[in-house]
Amino acid sequence: MSERDPLQSLWIHQQQENFKMTTAQLRQHATRFQSKIRTRNRIEYAAAALVIGVFAWMIAIIPEPMVRAGAGLIILGALYVCWKLHTLAGAADAGGLDHAASLADFHRSELLRQRMALAAVWKWYLAPFVPGMLVFIGAVAFTPELDAPLIARVTLFATTAAPIAAVFGLVAWLNARAVKALDKKIKALEEAG
């Protein structure tokens, strides 16, 4: 019989706390975890409801048809995002991560899940708002009621659209960078096995 490594002896004989959980506590904690996820989803839905409310109010008070069309498209975009959130949350509940998978498989699944979420967020979280934003900003800048030369209208459109485009671009760039870092980790994990 081989002798135990002194480090192993030291490790095994660490002082232990008295820690026990009853089934009631386990159930309570499991429920709390689910309720955290529900709260997070509710915040997302509330934010979408706010966007929908504000642009619905604009449709009600602004007579300009193109501005109303833009606001309508933004509402449709928000509704699409809500639907995606709902289906993704459902898929996460049903599939979840398999905690009893081997550590390498679990790690790989988690990295792939993060990669997929980051790579897709542009498509379902930001892009649905683009048509509505463009129509809305364009309609405001080029409305016949605005008494301004064409150059001033173009400038108004560009200065309003530029910061939005910059934010969208920044998000896309950060996501692409994060995806690249995840790809590196996935590759390293495959090589480690």
């Binding site: 490790w11 386990l26 009893a100 988690e110």
Partner: protein, 173 residues
């Protein structure tokens, strides 16, 4: 969640047999006492939840270590994204002089220093070394981690050398 008949029984059996190992893993993962207790609770809850789907694909021991380590890895990942103060990198750099590694570590806070050293490692290394310290063989570790036994043995050897080097270096500072 609707419990299956054996879920509670399996959990209590596992908690009885592996409770101390879960505590050691929590200590090697999280330095902050409050968050460590949260992590330990998370491990127990994850274990209890997992037994609703226990399918006998592996032994109870392998199942418990997989669930515990995967929960710990998720914790580390989440903490890294939300905090920057979890890892006490310098903790292993204050060792008092002693001739052998074992004697150094037998000092009053040797375990704390060993835990601090483990917390500095990347997840796969941390997982392998803690499983080794639990006195598991390369085959058992390979089954838990999903690495090959050869890769596990190489990793253990490298980590032990690194551990000895890091602890020895501090005695000459």
């Amino acid at each position: 969640m609707k419990p299956v008949p054996d879920q509670d029984q399996l959990y209590f059996e596992a908690a009885e047999a592996f409770g101390p190992a879960l505590q050691r893993l929590a200590r090697a993962t999280e330095a902050n006492e409050e968050r460590r207790r949260d992590l330990l609770q998370d491990m127990h809850v994850a274990l209890w939840r997992s037994f609703a789907r226990f399918d006998g694909r592996c032994s109870l021991r392998t199942w418990v270590y997989r669930v515990a380590h995967n929960t710990a890895a998720t914790h580390v990942d989440r903490e890294r994204r939300t905090r920057r103060d979890t890892v006490d990198i310098d903790a292993a750099g204050e060792l008092a002089g002693a001739d052998s590694l074992a004697r150094q570590l037998e000092e009053r806070d040797g375990v704390n220093r060993l835990n601090a050293w483990i917390r500095r490692l990347k997840p796969p290394d941390r997982q392998v070394i803690t499983l080794y310290l639990e006195d598991l063989g390369a085959d058992a570790i390979a089954e838990i981690t999903g690495f090959t036994p050869g890769a596990v043995a190489t990793r253990i050897s490298r980590l032990k050398t690194q551990l000895a080097k890091d602890f020895k270096e501090t005695t000459h500072v």
